[in-house]
């Protein structure tokens, strides 16, 4: 098989892959920040007692988790112009990833907060802390630690999901592979190369997870 494999073409296309890789990295990073914002807002709504905020948050989370990302992406890509928002493909892509990942992140953060024992809240209530102080000083610092590993898992998913943006012609990593595949009729070369790059990104994020868990482990023993 490898005698037909054209490493020369891959090398020739490396600058394109490089650009694609850089685009994938920064658009994923931006989408992840957006997803964190969406997730925190949704989670805050979801933790309210009243239905007014909780119901829409739950409906949104269910809708996003129940439908394919591709459908959501096309919904925004073709739907937004119809209601008067003509946005660049890249912006639509980042928006779609943020809105999609945000729903998952909302549930990750919620699970983190709910994992804090009731006694922690009672102790801080009894010492006269306000809701904001309880959250800031007692609940969130503890929830943060249990949330980091699943959040990095979600980041890995997001990076791989960003491949779908190639379908709305965002010039990211997968798009570079597609170009090689269609220009030179070399799909094996194109897609194997991007797979290698995704693997690289995966190990990068995994390394980050290991470092952060070691750092979190040393910062205060857990009961």
């Amino acid at each position: 098989m490898l005698e037909n494999f054209s490493f020369r073409t891959i090398v020739e296309y490396l600058p394109l892959f490089g650009q694609g890789l850089v685009t994938t990295v920064w658009l994923s990073a931006l989408s992840f920040v957006g997803a964190l914002v969406v997730g925190i807002v949704l989670c805050a709504m979801n933790l309210q007692r009243g239905w007014l905020f909780r119901a829409p948050a739950k409906a949104y989370i269910d809708a996003v988790r129940a439908t394919p990302l591709l459908a959501q992406l096309y919904f925004l890509y073709f739907g937004l112009p119809r209601v008067g928002f003509v946005l660049p493909e890249l912006v639509v892509g980042i928006l779609a990833l943020s809105l999609n990942s945000g729903a998952y992140i909302a549930e990750i953060i919620r699970a983190g907060i709910l994992s804090i024992p009731r006694g922690q809240v009672e102790a801080s209530v009894a010492s006269g802390m306000t809701y904001a102080q309880r959250m800031r000083l007692v609940v969130l610092p503890q929830a943060f630690k249990v949330t980091i590993p699943p959040l990095l898992g979600q980041a890995i998913v997001l990076v791989k999901d960003s491949a779908l943006l190639s379908l709305i012609s965002v010039a990211e990593l997968t798009r570079a592979g597609q170009l090689l595949a269609s220009d030179r009729f070399m799909p094996a070369e194109g897609f194997l190369t991007i797979a290698a790059f995704y693997l690289l990104l995966y190990y990068g994020l995994k390394g980050l997870a290991v470092v952060s868990s070691r750092w979190l482990g040393s910062a205060g023993a857990r009961a």
């Binding site: 009894a126 010492s127 802390m129 910062a219 205060g220 023993a221 857990r222």
Partner: protein, 262 residues
């Protein structure tokens, strides 16, 4: 430590009918259909130490949890330090700063050191300068015999040590009242006395205390009164000597025979 900063809630006139530091008057509470507190009337004077005992599920913990609003009451009046608990005009957050609460399961903050556990609320709630709060915190930890554990995390401490940090954490707020909810029930036997010794010292300094416990030695030593509860009602109340030596009701006799058997 400087005088306690007073919030606006303290400006309100004390209840004119105030007689004690903690006043239950005809308090009722339900969990669904279950009447967990039945017409409770009880007054605790300043500097008084009251021990609450009774069988499991009799409402002892619920009783003291109402005092700082961890539980809400259905009807009746509960006046603490001149302020009506549950009244919309009462600033509960402010009132809670005057009430220390020690839990059966310690509930120390696991991400904070012993010293940080003690100084967290004084710094953020009482707004005491950090250096001053840390100085006071070290003194309190020394007082409960943990001068060498200031930088230890809760997970590195034994149960008895954790509970002593929890008591120091409450004392750091300079409360007027200390409530203890079965403070030694989760401890190994050899650690009970180290916690009780600290509680005796707090009582002897004149703290108003309500203590849910079955530790009769403690009750005899420092309590002015023992209150016996059963099925949500106060069945009997008297001095420790009266209660332990001459219980008046069948239910208290049955209860005492069980805890005294061993």
């Amino acid at each position: 430590m400087t005088a306690n900063p007073k919030g606006p809630a303290n400006m309100t006139q004390p209840n004119p009918t105030k007689t004690g530091m903690i006043d239950f008057r005809g308090v009722n509470k339900w969990f669904g259909a279950l009447n967990v507190l039945k017409d409770i009337t009880l007054s605790v004077k300043p500097r008084e130490v009251v021990v609450v005992c009774g069988p499991s599920g009799s409402g002892k913990s619920t009783l003291i949890r109402c005092i700082n609003g961890l539980e809400t009451i259905r009807d009746g009046d509960l006046v603490v330090d001149g302020q009506r608990v549950g009244d919309p005009a009462t600033n509960m957050t402010q009132l809670r700063t005057e009430i220390g609460f020690v839990f059966q399961s310690f509930n120390l903050y696991p991400h904070k050191t012993a010293l940080e556990n003690v100084t967290l609320a004084p710094i953020h709630v009482r707004k005491i300068p950090r250096a001053e709060a840390e100085h006071a915190g070290r003194e309190l930890l020394a007082k409960v015999g943990l001068a060498d554990k200031v930088n230890a995390y809760p997970a590195q401490l034994s149960g008895g040590q954790q509970q002593r940090v929890a008591i120091a954490r409450c004392l750091g707020m300079r409360p007027k009242i200390m409530l203890f909810d079965e403070p030694t029930s989760a401890l190994d036997p050899e650690m009970i006395s180290e916690v009780l010794d600290v509680m005796v010292a707090v009582a002897e300094e004149g703290m108003t205390m309500m203590v849910v416990t079955h530790e009769m030695g403690f009750a005899r030593k420092v309590a002015q009164r023992v209150v016996f509860m059963d099925a949500g009602a106060i069945v009997e109340s008297g001095t420790p000597d009266e209660f332990f030596s001459h219980p008046k009701t069948d239910r208290s006799r049955a209860f005492l025979s069980k805890i005294l058997r061993h």
